[in-house]
Subunit: 138 residues, 2 copies
């Protein structure tokens, strides 16, 4: 299948490359709508699929039900806050060595790897310091 060009596809990729958040399809849709008001959500999904297959973007599956996408396709790591759900990039390069070892040991081909840390982000940590009382966060 020959993939063709379209302003919709270009706009979607542009949005994704222009953020370091890890947006959902719906968020991307809203952003692109600012430039192309009558774009449809179906088109966004179709293009995300194509872009993913072309290796231009990454689909993350971290956030429970909704998929998130990442314009950064180099192997990298994430931290996910279990409370607020935000996803942060982590600068902690994983050695390529490990991927090779896994490939050899299991007889598989490894294209990519993602490391996910889970916990509580700075914002969501219960602050118990007696001096400066803060708003209580459950």
């Amino acid at each position: 299948m020959m993939t063709r060009d379209s302003k919709q596809r270009r706009a979607i990729l542009e949005v994704l490359k222009g953020t370091n958040s890890h947006p959902t399809a719906d968020w991307i849709y809203e952003q692109v709508r600012k430039k192309i008001p009558n774009i449809s959500l179906g088109t966004v999904y179709r293009n995300l699929k194509v872009l993913k297959e072309e290796g231009k973007i990454l689909e993350l599956d971290f956030a429970g039900t909704v998929s998130r996408f990442d314009g950064n396709i180099t192997p990298h790591q994430h931290f996910k806050c279990e409370q607020c759900g935000r996803i942060f990039d982590v600068d902690e390069p994983l050695r390529q060595r490990t991927a090779e070892r896994v490939a050899l040991k299991m007889g598989v081909k490894v294209f990519n790897h993602l490391l996910e840390f889970r916990g509580l982000c700075q914002h969501c940590q219960p602050q118990a310091s007696p001096a400066d009382k803060q708003e209580t966060r459950l």
Copy 2:
């Protein structure tokens, strides 16, 4: 909220502990139904949520749209085949050191970490050996 006991919850946990696959809610539902035929899917979801909050199971978000659950709550690694979607356990322990370094550097609390490798599993690899012709898998 005081959590109470129920045979449904016990059965769900039992199913999850008794497999090393990474089943979807629906698969768990079908298994439990063999013992408790009139259990409802809603109950399965509600219990998976409770068990997850109690830290007794893990929710994986690897598989695109559907959530998968894991009865193995020790930090461990997965390999996901991008073709057939199967998820395999990988025996490649990640050093606790790394998690500590991340926690310190980012000011977060790390409860868990998951490493996901992506690629093609043995079964899905294009086999080009000229001697033994195999069924062609796209």
